[in-house]
Amino acid sequence: MTSMRLSLSNVSKEFNRRSIFRDVSFTLGGGDSLVITGRNGSGKSTLVKIICGLLTPTRGTITYSFEGKSIEHDNVRNHIGLVSPYLQLYDEFSGLENLELLSQIRSDRVLEKGRIEEVLNDVGLWERRRDFLRTYSSGMRQRLKYAFALVHKPDILVLDEPTSNLDADGVEMVNRRVTEQKQDSILIVATNDAEESTWCAKKIELGGKV
């Protein structure tokens, strides 16, 4: 069970004085799962980016701790895996190269030997690992995003529209990953899909509180 804890306290976000959401608060630890729902434009993806440290909140605080010690914002990236429609990988590299290069850049977490092979097999892309990303279909790109998110065994897995572009096998793969993640890590899902909303124990509808 991960000792990671994530806590948001009265987090609000505004863009050009337009309020996206206000006073979002929750605390998650190992084994917790949270679904973020809301109508289009309610700020689900914005909240996801704030949780991942990609955006700063206008008001409120977000804190991360691991093994009882506070984690600095810049180091949070080592503990988070993100799958999002806004995330893009490099078309001029193969699937394997994307994972190798990006893992080398994120060098704080040394990968176990064979880890990249393991995740590529898990997401069903091993056979296409040497093909350039520009030759991948949208579903394959989504699978590679899962490989990228999972390769460093994140303590917090954040999924924004988790099954978009995926076929039945892909959805099954996601279900397996979600089940594993919920057992001992933190899972956060942003979705409007009714079935995906049932994956998580806690729910927040933007505009409301947990």
Binding site: L89, Y90, E92, Q104, I105, R106
Partner: protein
């Protein structure tokens, strides 16, 4: 040590990416060839003075850099990979990797321009004090890169990137341009190395100020 290895990995990524896409290289090379050709046709058989040649040299470098150096950040925004980089690398890693990549690109650019100038102006572009010229090119490349990198990061977030980059760059680079042009003139005129030490001090001060200020500001530019 992990920050250094992370920075080197990001530079390797940029080098591999550039070799495969030629995103900046093609623009730089074409601009150099076009600019130098235009100058040759304009001057015809005239023999320009050393000060005119040094000015034309750095004008070509400046405008070529304007067309290419911004792409290190603009390409990430256009391809949507900025978020990916934000997820895997700290802001300081991204800044230093892009700075070193831009420095190498600018240095390669100055070498290309030098070779072209020595070819087409073989009688006039004769480097009599090589130490001054090498010092000017190295420090000038670093200076261009240190200013251009932070401006590129700012411009990449804007909508009107094409016009904004040279508009923001020129006032910041004018001091650098004047200094490197003066030092290059001394190299072509065969002056002693000691005569250029003042120029080198200005360049070193410029690089330190730009790099230090950029490092402190980059976090605010890189993150939304």
């Amino acid at each position: 040590m992990s920050a250094i290895s992370s920075t080197l990995a990001l530079i390797r990524k940029d080098v591999h990416s550039e070799l495969r896409t030629r995103y900046a290289l093609n623009a730089l090379l074409m601009f150099v060839v076009t600019a130098v050709s235009t100058i040759v046709f304009a001057l015809r058989s005239d023999q320009p003075t050393s000060s005119v040649l040094s000015g034309l040299y750095w004008v070509v470098v400046f405008f070529t850099a304007m067309s290419g150096l911004s792409r290190t950040f603009v390409s990430e925004e256009e391809r949507g990979t900025t978020m990916t980089l934000q997820l895997v690398a700290t802001p300081s890693t991204v800044y230093f990797a892009k700075l070193l990549f831009n420095t190498a690109l600018t240095f390669a650019l100055t070498i290309a321009v030098t070779i072209l100038y020595m070819t087409v102006f073989s009688n006039a572009f004769v480097i009599k004090t090589m130490s001054i010229f090498i010092g000017t090119v190295v420090l000038g490349s670093l200076g261009f890169a240190s200013a251009s990198t932070i401006i590129a990061a700012i411009v990449a977030k804007a909508n009107t990137r094409g016009t904004l980059y040279p508009v923001l760059s020129f006032p910041i680079l004018i001091v650098l341009l004047m200094t490197v042009m003066g030092a290059t003139t001394k190299a072509l005129d065969g002056e002693e190395l000691s005569s250029a030490l003042g120029d080198f001090q200005i360049l070193v001060g410029y690089i330190l100020a730009m790099t230090g200020g950029s490092y402190l500001l980059f976090d605010y530019v890189w993150k939304d």
